[in-house]
């Protein structure tokens, strides 16, 4: 195989390449530290990107590197797809974009494992513990393993098989999550019912059994493909029954999975940068998953068991009739008067606001109110939007001052002295059923206690239940009035009415 013309013996020195990897993962860690503050976050992300560039260059300098045409082709294809996608995606579509980028990562992992299996052929899984790698500084590189002998160490096979299974689950699971958020696939749970968990268990057992057989020395590519198919079905079967409301937790979990599978690939290929970067993502994804699940008062096993929102939707549909007639609707003019004479207004934004692209209109409205001396706050539920922090991104896009954003605990203390709470496209996160109705599927979820404020105006398209498919008791409370209509149009109308007051 050819080598880079500029590659001198120094550049291809293994210690030098190892040092490059160490520099790369130090930059990843430093970059993530930068993400801990709004002012350092941009730099943090770029630091990590520089680390990635160094890691890629170090890999291309490896003496075993070759097939430059194929590399150029793959990178060109990836760039041609990745850049426009990242540039053009709307901020509201961010969760599904993350799901998609996560999915392709998982896809790369299982494809690499498959290629490794094909390359090793009959030596895959043979037990050659006596195999000794040439003396090398820590982080001996891949080609020494393959040059050394015909056998593949058992641990390489184990980690490679693990990466294939988890990568495949992540790829298919992420694609389903993308489909649900993009509404290509219905958001409500699709499930086999009671048999679902048994099916999942059987698929998991089949995939693991095939993996064990491969590690033990079954030299069958058909078996490897069978394992990938079982893992793919498992990825589908796990995510399809999960309702839309739980999707952020699922994406975060799959993000952690992809990280772990990348770390496993790193061990199989004896590549330090892969191990470190993959594992850091595995750790962060697990933390995030846990935080999100806690915010929604859901346990991760319960989410995986699936079906959330399904029962609630049925209940909500049948329960809707009982409440009918007690909803009071209002007009934009009345809402404008209420807001103009308030001392303090709390905006409660939800995903509905984002979908309607109403954040700029909301910002205009609050500017007008501020001119009239009204004190403004934005109450942000931890899972407002569809991921933690998603709403902050959307509001930042509309130039809402950072210090007006109040997290749930602070906001809940403020509602008591709030004159008007303006709920825009938020539903489940304001539902008092989470506090008052033990039978509700969302019982126990922390909510924004909007009903503590003197009055509540809810801007909503219709009386349809929210993403979780559950009826909202807030709408039937005496202090609540409903302003029906598109969030953007309704907010602009209020702003226009303000001018006449």
């Amino acid at each position: 195989m050819s080598t880079l013309p500029l590659a001198t013996s120094f550049l291809q020195n293994e210690s030098f390449l190892d040092v490059l990897y160490i520099v790369a993962f130090a930059l990843f860690i430093q970059g993530l530290r930068g993400l801990s503050g709004p002012t350092t976050a941009v730099r943090g992300n770029r630091t990590a990107a520089v680390g990635m560039a160094i890691a890629v260059i170090a890999t291309l300098l490896q003496p075993s590197e070759g097939n430059w045409g194929l590399i150029a082709l793959g990178v060109a294809l990836g760039t041609a797809v990745g850049i426009p996608a990242a540039r053009q995606v709307k901020m509201t579509a961010m969760p599904q974009m993350v799901a998609l980028f996560n999915g392709v990562g998982g896809g790369a992992v299982f494809l690499i494992s498959w290629a490794e299996f094909r390359r090793y052929g009959s030596s895959y899984g043979s037990h050659t513990h006596s195999l000794v790698i040439r003396e090398l500084p820590s982080g001996a590189i891949l080609h020494t393993i393959t040059v050394s002998a015909g056998g593949v160490p058992t641990y390489v096979a184990i980690f490679s098989v693990f990466a294939a299974i988890v990568g495949s689950v992540s790829f298919w699971g992420s694609n389903i999550a993308f489909g649900k958020l993009q509404e290509i696939i219905p958001g409500r749970p699709i499930s086999l019912g009671a048999g679902q968990q048994i099916v999942n268990l059987v698929l998991a057992i089949l995939a693991v059994a095939a993996g064990v057989d491969l590690v033990a020395g079954a030299h069958s590519e058909l078996l490897f493909i069978g394992m990938l198919v079982c893992a793919a079905l498992l990825g589908n079967a796990v995510v399809l029954p999960i309702g839309g409301a739980d999707m952020p937790v699922v994406i975060s979990m799959l993000n952690a999975f992809t990280g772990l599978s990348a770390a496993a690939t790193g061990i199989a290929l004896n590549n330090t940068a892969l191990i470190v970067a993959g594992m850091i993502v595995g750790a962060s994804g697990s933390i995030l998953t846990n935080l999100m699940a806690t915010a929604m008062n859901r346990s991760i096993p319960a989410i995986i068991a699936g079906g959330f929102g399904g029962g609630g939707a049925v209940e909500g549909a049948s329960g809707a009739g009982e409440h009918a007639g007690t909803v009071r609707s209002t007009s934009a003019a009345d809402a404008a008067i209420q807001l103009a004479y308030a001392n303090r207004v709390m905006i409660v934004p939800g995903y509905g606001m984002a979908v309607a692209q109403a954040q700029h209109a909301v910002r205009e409205l609050t500017k007008e109110l501020e001119k009239r001396g009204v004190e403004i706050g934005y109450a942000i539920h931890p899972v407002a939007g569809r991921m933690p922090g998603h709403m902050n991104v959307l509001l930042a896009e509309a130039d809402v001052p950072y210090d007006q954003l109040e997290e749930m605990e602070d906001a809940n203390q403020e509602f008591g002295r709030t004159d008007v709470s303006l709920v825009i496209g938020a539903n489940d996160v304001t539902n008092p059923a989470a506090k008052n109705t033990p039978s509700s599927p969302i019982y126990g979820m922390p909510i924004l206690e909007v009903s503590n404020s003197h009055s509540v105006i809810v801007i909503k398209r219709s009386m349809n239940p929210g993403f979780a498919g559950i009826e909202n008791e807030l709408y039937y409370e005496p202090e609540t009035t409903m302003l029906f209509g598109d969030a953007k149009a309704a907010v602009s109308e209020i702003t226009a009415e303000l001018a006449h007051i």
């Binding site: 860690i29 993530l32 530290r33 993400l35 801990s36 709004p38 976050a41 941009v42 990590a48 890691a55 075993s64 590197e65 070759g66 194929l70 082709l73 990178v75 990836g78 990745g82 996608a85 990242a86 995606v89 974009m97 993350v98 980028f101 996560n102 990562g105 896809g107 790369a108 494809l111 690499i112 094909r118 390359r119 003396e135 001996a140 891949l142 993000n255 990280g259 990348a262 770390a263 690939t265 061990i267 590549n271 191990i275 470190v276 850091i280 993502v281 595995g282 750790a283 962060s284 995030l288 935080l291 991921m387 922090g389 998603h390 991104v393 930042a396 130039d399 001052p401 950072y402 210090d403």
Partner: protein
Amino acid sequence: MVLASVLTTNLAILVLAGFIGFVVISKVPNTLHTPLMSGTNAIHGIVLLGGLLVVGLAGNDTFNKVILVIAIAFGTINIVGGFLVTDRMLEMFKAKPKRGGGTGADGAGADKEEGS
């Protein structure tokens, strides 16, 4: 170095990296969780390295070449798309203090960074 110690060294790195990830990421404020998820998502695009390494050894097997080109393309999408999209999101946070009004929160963020 014998095989067993290559494995144990790598496992040690794995465990330490897990702890580092946990410590570094626990400090991130809620408001930055979405960019963080997107940013870590970009970092696991490092699987590209696996594709780059293995393609060098792919030999003449056409099917192998095809799946590895796809793997490299996937890895590249993950990296390029992930970092770009994170940058776009974060730019929105950064742009605000300039317009005034965000200085209080800005200062708090800086304090957190120093404290860490």
